[in-house]
Symmetry: C2
């Protein structure tokens, strides 16, 4: 094993950069003070961070898994605006004792996630730190369509999700319990598989409000409710549960529903449509928008738990 | 004192976001899955990271100092391309025990640095972590001018810097030594004051290659040499030393020159011009571009030390 402290920053960059995905939008790529991109239409930009020990553990996820997740959750944010992702900026902080191979594996995961979508890594920064911290900024374009925000949900509209929920959260619970079970859920925690492009399709079909579910259905539905100054009523019986989550819940002897309601690991989309008839295929109605500006209700009541808070642990 | 763990993520965001600077380029600001910006010309993008215990210490720098530095060093990267900065994305990782006031102070520092330049913070992410890690991605525009890269230095051209060097590194040395001296150098370490716009001016005056000095004059000159496949000969007697660095060196009883040659804290610009006559006022010639592709030479010899490596400590 060779550590990144042993080879140093310049040598690490020389090994790392050639493994990164490229984009056609790139005019000047990594290696200068800044990268240069062509942008067609409006620029859409978002950032997400992954912290070792909080969002991933090295004993559970490979470098490639972390690279994949870092890319995917950011592509989902652009897709959730109804826009098209083009490029990533990556900052990687890591202890000097980290294996060089981990970093190269991380680059491979970024490439695997990005290449099918024509998305490139155009720049970033490296630094030492006590734990691995990956920060990703994703850039995208609108191509003339309007972005879909969280703020335009109206009473009477339907609330829907783009895919069955809970697999990632259930996989995390399996790993946390140290149980050897539910490999599909575990794999979906390590490598979430949101359908990039589902958001653009929803936007073209008239989605009024949309976001990616990154902190759990209930918490994120509350965010649409707040931004739109409406209420959102979720019907728990209507929430599609991922079969892998059910397998995991059974192995753990717990109820599967909380994984689907409060898990944010899948990066499926949550959207509000004028009616169920206008949804693209594959989406499932999980509730409706209500008049009263009072947050999210689950089966008519205030939910006991909303799920994840980034500073609560 | 109230900690960020006590108030939680949503409450922290509600306090933090209103203190951030705004930009006229903003179409949709913080609070959605992504921000939306208008871009005129080509997009220029760069990222830098600041890690507690490596780039700053809380006992030396306030939250506002860290916010200021985080913004300034990123604005300098866009300026160093001869482009104009417009917006920042910020990710902030911090322990849950951090004082809320530190985070709000951090926002104030961002605003102080950005507002004079019309630069806004349009989005970002917050997460828990064991130490504070600030990652900034800066976005800028070219407005029709060509960017100035590191790759177009040619033999016979002059190498110049935009400002006297060494104050920041000397200030850091004073703080590290625990000496109560040289307050100007200490202040310039905490709040570097690169002249944003100096790079655009240099670009308009025909700078052939340019970068901001973030890892020290010698190391960064070596990067221009490598990118341009030339040599760069630096004349140590010609390097302008900041008066505050001299005061600090005297107080510490050390030679001032290493601060100017290997300190990267000032974020002054390093550029190559066709001739000394084409430089904007205030720039000083420190060397010349040579034919042989052999890196950087100091007074004719390979330098003993190049300065900072991000994983070497």
């Amino acid at each position: 094993m060779t550590t990144i402290g042993e080879i140093g920053e310049d040598a690490l960059i020389a090994l790392f950069v050639p493994r990164l995905p490229e984009t056609d939008a790139e005019i000047l790529g990594p290696g200068d003070d800044a990268a240069v991109l062509s942008v067609d239409g409006h620029l859409v930009v978002s950032s997400d961070v992954l912290v070792e020990g909080r969002h991933f553990r090295r004993e559970w996820s490979t470098g490639a898994d972390v690279g994949w997740r870092a890319a995917m959750q950011n592509l989902a944010d652009i897709d959730a605006m109804g826009a098209v992702p083009t490029a990533l900026q990556i900052t990687l902080c890591a202890p000097s004792s980290l294996d060089v191979d981990w970093v190269l594996d991380f680059a491979d995961g970024l490439r695997e996630a990005c290449e099918p979508h024509g998305v490139g890594v155009v720049g970033g920064d490296l630094s030492g730190a006590d734990q691995i911290v990956v920060s990703v900024t994703v850039l995208g374009e609108t191509h003339g369509t309007e972005v879909v925000t969280r703020a335009d949900a109206h009473p009477g509209m339907v609330v829907a999700v783009s895919a069955p929920l809970g697999a990632g959260a259930a996989g995390l619970a399996v790993l946390t319990a140290g149980v050897d079970a539910a490999p599909e859920a575990v794999q979906l925690f390590k490598r979430p598989r949101p359908v990039v492009g589902a958001g653009l399709e929803a936007a073209l079909r008239g989605a009024a409000a949309m976001m990616d579910i990154s902190d759990g259905l209930l918490r994120d539905a509350g965010r649409i409710a707040r931004a739109s100054e409406v209420g959102i009523a979720i019907d728990s019986a209507a929430v599609p549960v991922h079969p892998a989550a059910s397998v995991a819940a059974q192995a753990l002897g717990v109820d599967v529903l909380p994984f689907a309601l409060t898990g944010g690991e899948d990066h499926a989309l949550l959207a509000v449509f004028p009616s169920a008839g206008s949804m693209p295929s594959g989406w499932e109605v999980v509730g409706r928008v209500t008049e009263e500006f009072d947050g999210v209700r689950l089966d008519g009541a205030v939910p006991e738990s909303l799920g994840w808070d980034h500073f609560s642990r």
